[in-house]
Symmetry: C2
């Protein structure tokens, strides 16, 4: 019976840290996005294509979470932007304290877009606010159309679903419309981008979504300054 109060305590500590981070992001006009998916849905490849598309002058930084290894940071560092690996050592999600520590030796003035790649897990990351402006859930077409119904929390809390690996569609029994309908049953306002890091399907739409959100973050800051 002591399970619930204990979890509430962790969550409220996390909430406090996340809110402090959110205030700092707002103050610096930083757009922070938290990307969540199953292991192997293609978050890192999507981020590679994204970083590749940015001019070197863009003020983009990236925190990438993993249980073990710094494979993803190695892949993402090739593009010249600041990238830090957060290795959780067994923990199944990133929490706000890890983000706070990850940012400790970075100047927030140098960042306008902070991308966080969460640990590959469709369940636990949904409970941990990282101070982000929005969560993005990545679902690949190899995973089945029913995932939004089976893992509703993360789909409910995400503003955008990237339906990924569209290039594999001819080879898998997956009905795009049905997956999208399931996502919108859980979250009627869900925005959706159909994407492939191989064929670059959806790349423009994804970059437009990012750009729109970045402008909103800047405008929001301008209003409050």
């Amino acid at each position: 019976m002591d399970r619930v109060p204990f979890q509430q305590k962790i969550l409220s500590e996390n909430e406090r840290t996340a809110n402090a981070l959110r205030a700092r992001f707002h103050e610096h006009g930083i757009l922070c996005l938290n990307m969540v998916s199953s292991p192997g849905s293609g978050k890192t490849s999507l981020l590679e294509r994204t970083l590749e598309s940015f001019a070197p002058s863009e003020r983009v930084a990236l925190l990438t979470g993993d249980i073990q290894t710094d494979n993803d940071a190695v892949r993402l560092r090739r593009f010249g932007f600041p990238v830090k690996q957060i290795t959780t050592g067994g923990t199944c999600h990133l929490d706000a304290r890890m983000i706070e520590r990850g940012l400790a030796d970075w100047r927030l003035e140098d960042i306008e877009l902070l991308l966080i790649e969460n640990v590959g897990n469709l369940v636990c990351p949904s409970s941990y606010d990282l101070g982000e402006a929005a969560k993005i859930v990545v679902l690949s077409v190899t995973e089945g159309e029913d995932k939004p119904l089976k893992y509703p929390a993360i789909f409910f809390k995400s503003e955008l679903m990237v339906l990924n690996k569209m290039d594999l569609l001819p080879h898998v029994p997956f009905v795009v419309e049905s997956a999208e309908e399931n996502a919108r049953r859980v979250h009627p306002a869900m925005e959706i981008v159909r994407s492939s890091s191989l064929t670059l399907e959806g790349a423009q739409e994804w970059l437009r979504w990012l750009d729109h959100r970045r402008r909103s973050a800047r405008d929001l800051r301008a209003v409050s300054v």
Copy 2:
């Protein structure tokens, strides 16, 4: 700082229940297997093909875990064997108490093989013993070769890796040998079956593995009776 003792307490409660289950399984000559994977790796399809291959007289039962929905139980019930859905309502793994409750109205005398399909999650289920004789990890070729290194606990604790969706191999940048090498770096004695529920590649090998384990469970019981 109170996080560690609390988790230890949960784990040791779980351990006690799991050991009690294991003793009951042993007493009844039941082979219990705990299948773990990412969401959408094809556990349910593999189980469908498995149940399909069994004669109606086989004493097989199945517990299937999910955050929400009873989709999997509906799919698996078609084969006429007892199937029960365990809906965790948000919890990211099955625990031994859920298995105990799931078995409450089943006669253990009627079961010889108990298959447990865990919640789709490569992280948390690795910490929860369900009283099983062995864990099986399912990895699909769409998820990338690096997953055993990134999620080592579940690969370390599993006796068998089913490398699934082999039919998609021509369409994905996945090197089977490298994935297998990674699995064996984490767990040198890992047994591996390359499998596809579409082409039935590996089906015989998987059924032979199951049969071998079932005979061992029976033999073990005969020795101790």
